[in-house]
């Protein structure tokens, strides 16, 4: 039987505010264990939370950038459960009145655009981190991350494949980075996803029973988890079993998921309105001000690259998929008159080098201005295309100004005719057979002679001038 996969995602993204959601502690990643915390974020007796206004602003930005309705009245609630990484034994979150609702993100898969609905975005606090295994006597807790602000973005069950999930997450990540509310560093845990997944026979209207997979913190892991869970569910159904509604933990090392708890064992979080905080009441005008302050988003940028610079859609899509890459392109293009060449260099050599060195676009070691300069050097005929490749590599490895590289290494095109006449004469002397071939009408021999001359000048000669001199000298013979 053919099956259809139904996926909904719950994405947690750490907001990049300077201080935590309810106290003034820093949100900085790393830091000595238990140094980024205070009586408030460690929930000592008698302390009270005060909501960081930036958290509201960032969440509203995220909502507006994903086409959500922003609630003018929302509130915070307590989600009660016991765990050592949760010092108050409740997480302050939002239950029935989230700050953003009913949004969507458009994704493109196999050339088709599809709209993925967002149920809601709400604000909440992160928990601390348990450190197991290293001590025989028990576990230790690091509260540095406790109280770091999060937004939870909940999608509708609109996703139908691992590929769609991947593109959805990539787009979401790009949007959050563009509006500068989260750095979305998956390896630091600032973007994490839970996957709700069910399968159903193709054509069936009702959803199948879903499972929830937690602990997914890499794109690769998410894809693998979706594939594995899909297979597990189909195998279960095919062999006559039933899917149990449960929470499963994904083990990325082993590539399998384990049942954590069933629906019956699910926590009763006893949500109720947080009495230590007042409702969040937002002014319409303020929301509009935030809307106006939003920067150009990836989708709009992509369209502009196609219309303004005439880039192919595919290239525009790659360039805008990461804010850092797109910003690099913008920087280069603003200083260049040849957007296509700039794009080609990024799409080709730059992407290759980043991949080879396992680097992110954030880590490009030279500025867009340098790339613009290099393109200009080619366009002016100062260096040849072949030399430019060498200059680009050098620029990537050293971060040096391309003009300096060209000068230091003497890579300018040689266009001094006198010098080139000598080179050509020498080539003609050393290759009498080719000269004879050419004279007897074999045009191919001409190309060989040009190649020899370029080789002799180590690629620095202007091919046009070599052509011209070679023709003149052959005519004389």
């Amino acid at each position: 039987m053919e099956y259809e996969i139904v996926i909904g995602l719950e994405v947690h993204s750490e907001l990049s505010t300077k201080s935590k959601i309810y106290c003034t502690c820093t949100t900085e990643f790393g830091g000595e264990v238990n140094t980024h915390c205070c009586p408030i974020c460690t929930g000592m007796p008698g302390v009270l939370p005060v909501l960081n206004e930036k958290v509201v602003e960032y969440a509203v930005k995220a909502g507006l950038a994903t086409n959500c309705t922003i609630a003018e009245y929302s509130k915070q609630d307590r989600k009660n459960y016991f765990y050592p990484d949760l010092p108050k034994a409740y997480q302050t979150s939002q239950y029935d009145l989230p700050i953003c609702k009913n949004g969507y993100i458009d994704i493109e898969v196999n050339g088709e655009t599809k709209r993925i609905g967002l149920t809601r975005i709400h604000i909440e606090e992160d928990a601390g981190k348990l450190m197991h295994d290293e001590w025989d006597t028990g576990s230790l807790v690091d509260y540095n991350r406790c109280g770091v602000p999060l937004i939870e973005i909940v999608s509708e069950p609109d996703i139908r494949s691992a590929e769609e999930a991947k593109v959805f997450l990539e787009n979401l990540k790009a949007i959050l980075q563009y509006i500068d509310v989260s750095d979305c560093k998956m390896q630091e845990g600032s973007l994490r996803a839970d996957v709700n997944l069910s399968v159903r026979p193709k054509g069936q209207k009702e959803f199948g029973t879903r499972t929830e997979m937690k602990n997914l913190n890499s794109f690769r892991g998410i894809i693998r988890a979706i594939e594995a869970e899909t297979k597990r569910q189909i195998d279960e159904i095919e062999s006559g079993g039933v899917i149990v509604q449960e929470t499963r933990r994904w083990d990325d090392n082993k590539g399998i998921s384990y049942a954590m708890r069933s629906k019956e064992e699910a926590h009763d979080y006893r949500y109720f309105p947080e009495p230590d905080l007042v409702p969040i009441v937002l002014d319409k005008e303020w929301i509009e001000k935030i809307r106006e302050s939003l920067p150009e988003l990836p989708e709009a940028r992509k369209k502009r690259y196609v219309s303004e610079y005439g880039l192919p859609e595919y290239d525009a899509g790659i360039l805008t998929s990461s804010k850092a890459l797109s910003d690099f392109f913008e920087d280069a293009v603003s200083k260049s008159s040849n957007a296509k060449a700039v794009s080609n260099w990024i799409m080709g050599d730059l992407m290759r080098l980043l991949k080879e060195k396992n680097m992110e676009a954030e880590e490009i070691p030279f500025s867009g201005e340098y790339l613009a300069k290099m393109v200009a050097l080619i366009d002016k005929g100062t260096i040849s295309g072949a030399i430019a490749k060498k200059v680009f590599d050098k620029m990537f490895n050293t971060g040096k100004d391309p003009e300096v590289i060209v000068k230091e290494e003497g890579l300018e095109v040689v266009s001094d005719e006198g010098a080139l006449v000598a080179v050509v004469t020498k080539i003609l002397e050393n290759n009498p057979q080719s000269v004879a071939d050419y004279k007897s009408g074999k045009e191919k021999a001409f190309g060989f002679l040009v190649g020899q001359a370029m080789k002799e000048t180590k690629g620095k000669a202007s091919p046009q001038i070599i052509n011209k001199i070679l023709k003149e000298e052959l005519d004389k013979m």
Partner: protein, 486 residues
């Protein structure tokens, strides 16, 4: 008269005029504690050395004219659920027996800024749950008027300390009557300010939407002075209200002519002890004779106030007290097998019966499937109670009635009947539910020579009217001069 018997405003004059030094005064009150606290049991912690050191520093400031505070040099004490940096804050619980906060509650800081002298931390019902101080892990505070009786609660230590002159004034906290009922039982003045008028930062939470800190004093003038010191917006408390707070001493005017006073029929009907009722009606007669217009009216759904209060308070408490799990601070069970067992053993051993009862009640009320029937229903009652008061205040400047149905009862008398104990809160809980201010002033003694307190309930942030009526009553009666003989 001895120094410790005087009020804060009387002592303030003596200090200002150098008739007495802060050190001398502090020593006198410390001696008083030494002499009577073995009988009364108001204190959990007495910080003698810190108090004397502080008194010396404050006296220097007074000598150099560096303090303008009317409370400079006045020895006071705090209920043991208000955090004091470097000084144990136990909530009268085994759970926090060893807890020394690294921060001050905002009220503690404000009182330090006013150059008052902290004598120590006062006994209470564990986590402020109770009305008799029988729920303290440490000891039973006794009523200074009759040592066989309870001082009331949960701020029993705060009321008993003032009544026995073991402090010039104290702070208590009031979630459902915990300042007013002990003030009534011990014959002192106590006020629960409007919710949001005094910062709750550093007050160990019982029920966040109901808790409020207030003073217990020897007279209404002292009450106004201490209110001046502790009210005000605090950016550390999101529920603290940012408005201009008046100078409450300006409200100390001996005049109630034309003031409209409502008396809820439901507060003087069934269930009230006849002697208490007589004292209250006599007090109302005094106000009438002074020119106030007093009339009875019906305050609807009073009967639902107690169930609604216990549902809301316990629901919030079940969440607020969940953090005491043996992981971070406070008590941890010695023997446990795994994480779940650590929680179970720690909380079983660390909390007393009443606290456990309320945690279970609150957990149940918030559980899925019961939330709508209990917690949500209680919130609806809360709205109706507020509405009832709003309507009353469209007609009356204030509401007057009893504080508790009885005077102080015998230790152990109700200890095994929690429901009976809860019903004692009938006249006080509505005020917390609606977030209103409530002032209690002594208004008589019953035939067993036990004090009765008159409760004045005001509009939001209208403490001034309560103080004015309380002050006028005090100026025209002698009840506040009755003192416990201890």
């Amino acid at each position: 008269m001895e120094l410790h018997e005087l009020t804060a405003h009387e002592l303030g004059e003596l200090l200002k005029n150098k008739k007495v030094s802060a050190v001398e005064l502090t020593k006198t009150v410390l001696d008083r504690i030494e002499k009577v606290d073995s009988k009364v049991g108001s204190y959990i912690t007495v910080c003698e050395d810190e108090a004397l050191k502080r008194a010396k520093d404050v006296q220097e400031k007074i000598d150099k004219g560096e303090t303008k505070s009317p409370l400079a040099g006045i020895p006071m004490a705090l209920k043991d659920n208000m955090c004091t940096e470097g000084i144990k804050t136990t909530c009268a619980s085994k759970m926090l027996n060893n807890f020394v906060p690294p921060y001050n509650a905002t009220v503690a800081k404000k009182l330090y800024d006013q150059d008052t002298i902290l004598l120590g931390k006062l006994n209470m019902d564990e986590f402020a749950m109770g009305g008799s101080n029988e729920n303290s892990y440490f000891k039973q505070t006794k009523n200074p008027w009759d040592l066989e009786r309870v001082p009331g609660g949960s701020s029993g230590g705060s009321a008993a300390a003032v009544a026995s002159n073991e402090a010039i004034f104290t702070l208590g906290s009031d979630t459902g009557g915990s300042i007013r009922q002990p003030a009534s039982f011990c014959g002192v003045v106590g006020i629960k300010p409007t919710y949001g008028a005094v910062s709750r930062f550093g007050l160990v939470a019982f029920a966040s939407s109901l808790d409020q800190i207030g003073p217990l004093t020897k007279d209404v003038t002292d009450c106004a002075l201490v209110l001046n010191a502790i009210t005000g917006h605090d950016p550390m408390d999101s529920t603290s209200i940012n408005i201009e707070y008046p100078d409450y001493t300006k409200a100390l005017v001996n005049d109630v002519k034309g003031m409209k006073i409502g008396i809820p029929k439901e507060y003087i009907g069934e269930g009230i002890n006849p002697e208490v009722k007589k004292s209250i009606l006599d007090a109302i007669e005094v106000l009438r004779k002074l020119g106030a217009e007093c009339e009875e009216f019906s305050l609807p759904i009073t009967e639902y106030a107690i169930p609604a209060y216990y549902l809301i308070a316990c629901a919030e408490a079940s969440s607020n007290l969940a953090r005491y799990d043996g992981v971070k601070y406070g008590y941890r069970a010695e023997k446990y097998t795994d994480l779940l067992d650590l929680y179970k053993q720690t909380r079983s051993e660390g909390f007393g019966d009443e606290v456990k009862r309320r945690i279970m009640l609150g957990t149940y009320a918030l559980s899925s499937g019961y939330y709508d029937a209990y917690y949500k229903k209680a919130l609806q009652v809360r709205t109706l109670i507020s509405k009832g008061f709003n309507e009353a205040f469209s007609k009356y400047d204030l509401i007057v009635g009893p504080t508790a149905p009885t005077t102080a009862f015998k230790i152990g008398e109700k200890a095994n009947d929690p429901l009976e104990m809860y019903l004692g809160d009938i006249y006080t809980v509505s005020v917390n539910i609606a977030g209103l201010p409530g002032l209690v002033v002594p208004c008589g003694l019953d035939s067993s020579n036990l004090p009765v307190g008159l409760q004045l309930i005001g509009k939001h942030f209208d403490e001034s009217t309560l103080l004015r009526v309380g002050y006028t009553f005090e100026q025209n009666t002698e009840f506040h001069k009755n003192k416990a003989k201890i």
